[in-house]
Amino acid sequence: MTRFIVIRAAMLVAGLLVASILIFFTLRILPGDVALVIGGTQASPERIAAIRAQLGLDQPIVAQYLDWVGGLLRLDLGTSVVTGSSVSAQIAQKLAVTGPLALLSLLFGLVIALPLGFLSAVRRSRASGVAIAFGAQAAAAVPVVWAGLLLILLLSTALGLFPSQGFPLNGWADPWGALRSLILPALTIGIVEGAVLLRFVRSAVLSAQGQLHVTAAAARGLTRRQALLRHGLPNAGLSVVSVLGLQLAALIVGAVVVEQLFNLPGLGPMLVTDVGQRDLPKVQSVVFTITAIILVVGFLVDLVHRIVDPRLRAGTA
């Protein structure tokens, strides 16, 4: 176990390092003056000089990179070239919306994917099983924006159940209001991502169906379904746990689009604005933060998977 943690932690550090290098140099891929890219062609020479000074562009590029990474290690994500405000503070503020949104979406996704995936596998030769599998196939093909628009039409415009736009101005000080405004966006991501996950659960349960211990349990007098529920589902569940890290990446991407659609003050709309303003230092730190969150969660998920999966525990004893 210790060996596993050490190796996995080393991979996490390597991942963060590679991510920082790729992000930093991708954003400086254009030859020529970064200050001109950021300022745009209409910027005054003073403005260009100011940007250049702020970014330390007179330094060699490696020194600029080390300067940025040094800041990251102190949790200092730099400042925006456009507004001059601290990037760390803004990310923390936006994460208060995006974080709960991603978790709620994951919850909805799992609530959809686990039972329906199981059902569609158990009833695969019956109409209901085929219908679920087909529904999942179709739902996984729906663009997130369209899913959101359809849900707004149904649950907000027609039934008036949830607000379709915005977030309470006082944020989580109004917990019910905040939660209410996250439900529709989270449902949008949850349905689309849940449909993809459902196909994975289905395939995992189908493969459990053929496994010897499930057959053995059935031979001991359990019905096929009882055997699967008791012995097959845990295996399928573990497979789902092991891909949660991957799933999180999809949820965050979904959040970027959905926050824009539902006008939520999260990381997504902020990043869209920053990209539009070519605020490269901020884009760099925001993209790195999102990637780092995905990598760290992937690391934690692997650890949890290792602890809860008896097969893996035995393997490293």
Binding site: V18, I152, Q247, D274
Partner: protein, 301 residues
Amino acid sequence: MSGRRRWLPALLRQPAGLFSSIVLALLVLAAAVSLLWTPRDPNEADTARAWLPPGPSFWLGTDGAGKDIVSQLLAGARVSVVVIVGAALVAGVLGIAVGALASLTARWVREPLAVLIDILIAFPTLLIAMMLAAVFGGSLIVVVAAVGIGYGVSIARVLRAEIAQVAGADFILAARAAGLGRLAIARRHILPNVAPVFIVQLSLSAALALLAEAALSYLGYGAPSGTPSWGRMLAQVQGYISVHPLAALWPGLAITLTVLALNLFGDALREATDPRLLRPSARPMDDADPADQALRLGVGR
């Protein structure tokens, strides 16, 4: 070679194969027709005829700027074809090259490369696209490049496992014993054996590429203004969804049908060309690694 000639009937005999072939043929047809003819100029705006209902002169009505929806849908098919083909091409070349390097080379090359692939998988495609858009501005090239890189990595990961498995088989050993060179083995024995999996992945990438284009165009970093695209059409009607729901129906439906067709096409083609296979709908997980299996289904991409 009779098997090679008969794959098309085998494809069209399956409901999923028939459906996806028809949808994809219609897509290509729409794109081709729109090059020569559309009912009206798709960019011709006239606020005097905004939000017209479907009728004889505007078959599906008009949008908020008075543009003809049918003409925009037809012209938008061009962008979809470009994104599908472009992204599949980039992802396919990258996936095969990196996948082969990560499985067939010396240990000191392939093992670090495998770790690198695992790291790159964590990069969401949309973030790659937004970084490129921050530098180059939004364009279809950015979409194709970002999506191609993002899914190329995921194809590489799936192929790595697949190639490694085939390369360890006895018939490869036999081919080596018979004196075949590395390249000849890769071309004659390994490629044909991983081709079915590759085709499925490629068509999945194309499907995901279209979804990514829709998302990026919606955010304003996809097709430039003046280039009709289904994603842009969705973006333009979003504010009016409760008043003019029908206008949002068509582009969403076009994207969904095409993505669905691409998702089904790969599996159907695989079934038509690979007689050893179980029905894909009933295919259990055949990999030890759930992450590989998840990527094969498009989880997390």
